[in-house]
């Protein structure tokens, strides 16, 4: 065979492989490893096909408000935090759900994208307050301010804009795996490590991977109240706005898609890696993903929101308006903390001291 063979690098030591006519294999002149020609070609192709890449969403949501709908929308703006909320003409907004400061109505509703879907509120305000109260019962170090009844009434129902991503993913992943074997003789302990190249290719589909579309809502807070059940989502209708506020999206589908990509990537990688078995170690060497049938839709998701100001900082509480899941980080009341610490310290020290005295340990 005189056709020019591509130069292959030895997977073990990196030296250029040479064709050995006696064995009909590719041989490394440096480390003397031998490789089957077909296998090297396959390996090379696998390496090329599994380079990491970034996903990008090409489709864009298209919804537009109708004229009659636009006429009934009232938009309010908060001067102190820049919060931008819309509601229908029957609902009056007085304070900003994000910072508690007063909001001012904007004269002209500036057109924006119309939501495709909405999940209606399943939990009423009363129920939300009830859950919130219960949540605080096992938080011994929470400052009293959070438990004030009057304050709990401030809880507001907000529709938070989300981008929901659907995609069929085709992934090609490559792993370096090892099998380790040990044995000993009189003088030495031996360890043999055998290196393998593992290639996997597969498909996986995702439905409605959510990503926060509002910069006013903390992304991590929104992730914490997941999941939302999209099966209960309905086509958007102005009626749902009555009594609630909806935030206008201000993060593009492209931008918020990056977090969604990361999560999709992680799920794909772990699904594929779970098919690799029988090795001592497995390390991902690269994964290439391609999106097919991707779409992003704009959806309003129900959230009960309460903002509490404590010592100059704002603390947010969010409850999933559909499932009732409640999250929010509470600060530690230093007074309570000190008292608890002192109490535990005193009790335990006293017990240990008395016990050691009686048991004559010292």
């Amino acid at each position: 065979m005189s056709d020019e063979l591509k130069q292959y690098k030895c997977p073990n030591c990196g030296g250029i492989l040479v064709f050995d006519s006696s064995t009909q294999n590719l041989k490394c002149p440096y480390c003397h490893s031998e490789f089957d020609v077909e296998m090297m070609q396959s390996y090379d192709k696998d390496v090329a096909e599994t380079t990491d890449n970034e996903l990008s969403w090409t489709s864009k949501p298209q919804g537009q408000w109708s004229q009659s709908e636009a006429a009934n929308i009232r938009e309010y703006v908060c001067k102190s935090c820049g919060g931008d909320i819309i509601t229908d003409e029957t609902t009056a907004a007085s304070s900003c759900p994000y910072c508690g400061n007063p909001v001012v109505m904007v004269n002209q509703f500036k057109g924006s994208l119309r939501p495709d879907k909405v999940i209606p509120f399943k939990f009423s305000k009363q129920q939300a307050i009830e859950r919130y109260r219960k949540h605080l019962t096992d938080k011994p170090l929470a400052p009293k301010a959070f438990k004030a009844e009057k304050h709990m009434q401030e809880i507001k129902g907000v529709y938070v804009p989300f981008w929901m991503y659907d995609a069929d993913v085709t992934a090609r992943a490559r792993f370096t795996a090892t099998r380790v074997r040990s044995w000993s003789d009189r003088d030495y302990n031996y360890t043999e490590t055998r290196y393998y190249n593992v290639f996997r290719g597969g498909d996986i589909s995702f439905d409605n991977v959510p990503a926060n579309g509002s910069s006013k809502m903390d992304t991590v807070l929104m992730e914490s109240i997941e999941p939302f059940d999209m099966k209960q989502a309905v086509d958007f209708n102005m009626d749902y706005l009555a009594g609630y506020f909806a935030d206008k999206f201000d993060i593009s589908a492209e931008e918020s898609g990056r977090k969604a990509n990361q999560r999709i990537r992680n799920s794909t990688a772990s699904a594929i890696q779970s098919t690799v078995s029988g090795y001592s170690t497995v390390t991902q060497a690269g994964m290439n993903m391609a999106l097919v049938n991707e779409s992003a839709s704009y959806c309003l998701l129900p959230v009960w929101l309460l903002v509490t100001t404590y010592q100059g900082k704002k603390y947010y509480f969010a409850m999933n308006g559909q499932t009732g899941k409640l999250v929010g980080d509470l600060p530690t009341d230093t007074g309570l903390f000190a008292r608890s610490f002192a109490l535990i310290f005193a009790v335990v020290s006293a017990l240990v001291f008395v016990a050691s005295f009686l048991l004559k340990l010292f």
Binding site: T193, G201, D203, N266, S267, T275, F341, I344
Partner: protein, 361 residues
Amino acid sequence: MMKRITKLFTILAVALMVCVPWRALAQNALMIDEYGALTDTQIAQCETQLQQVSDKYGVDVVALIASDTDGKDIVDFADDYFDYNGYGRGTDRSGIILVIDMYGREMYISTRGLCIDYFTDYGIESIADEIYPYLAGDFEGAVSRYAQLCDYYMNAAITDKPIDIYYNRLYIHLSGEDGKRINGHFSVYDVNGVHIGNIYVDHGEGYTDILTEDTNAVYTISCDDVSSKYAKPEDITVRGSAEYDITMTAARAPYDVMTGGAVSGGAGLIAALIGTGIMKSKNKSVRSKYDADRYVERGSFNLRDHRDYFLYSRTSRSARPKETERSSGGGGGHGGSFSGGSSTHTSSSGATHGGGGRRGF
């Protein structure tokens, strides 16, 4: 004819009689006087005495006054006399023999069987020392005293323990539960304040390296150091005068508040940190999501291609550590020439004997 036969028989009889080991015929006797140092009455009396002691303990207590040792070393002579003359009772052939060599002017005691343990090296030496003065002329007294001493020593060995050197060492015993927890080094001073030795006390017990015969001596003990939380040197008091036993009590050291307080404080601190840590963690519920597993369309995962192939292998090795030599520590020293117990040797007949003696009486 008859006269000739009678003469022949007489010669044969005489010859036989000469050849007979007369010594062997005397094997049943416990008192043997070859030399002729004792009268017949004395021999009979000694025999009775020795017989009494022998029967009392089930061993042969033998005494021999020999003219000489047939050219042998007295140790071998004594062992062989005992072995080859069938002395010794029971399967072990237990017994003790006193040999007084009138020619070599030395005496030796050999033991076999149970008597090896009954009479320690120290015991034999003591008996020899006691008998020695009698050998100046009172041989009956010597044997009689020998019999008495054998009785005394065997009685001690059976009812308590064999008389041995430790009886004459100073012994400290710290009493009580607290006493058992004391290890320490003590110095011993005699009545004039002269330092005469040391005692190491381990878990409340200790022997000195001082050998003393004086049962009425008074000693003072001072403590050099103690390694125990239960007593301070100044809390150790000597109770009673020191005879063979010194009894000390250790006063309980008061509860160490510093250490107790420090440990309690530490425990309290750890508990408080853990407790408040748990309480604090309850305040946090916001967590980022790492994956989109919940949004995977069920059953959509489909593996289409899979290829696993071997690339290369690498082998490494490491040398195994070699076993290092370990030397065992040496034991403590002892005062005096005796270390207790009975030393033994093997006699020409292959039997094991203990023994000891004195020269030049």
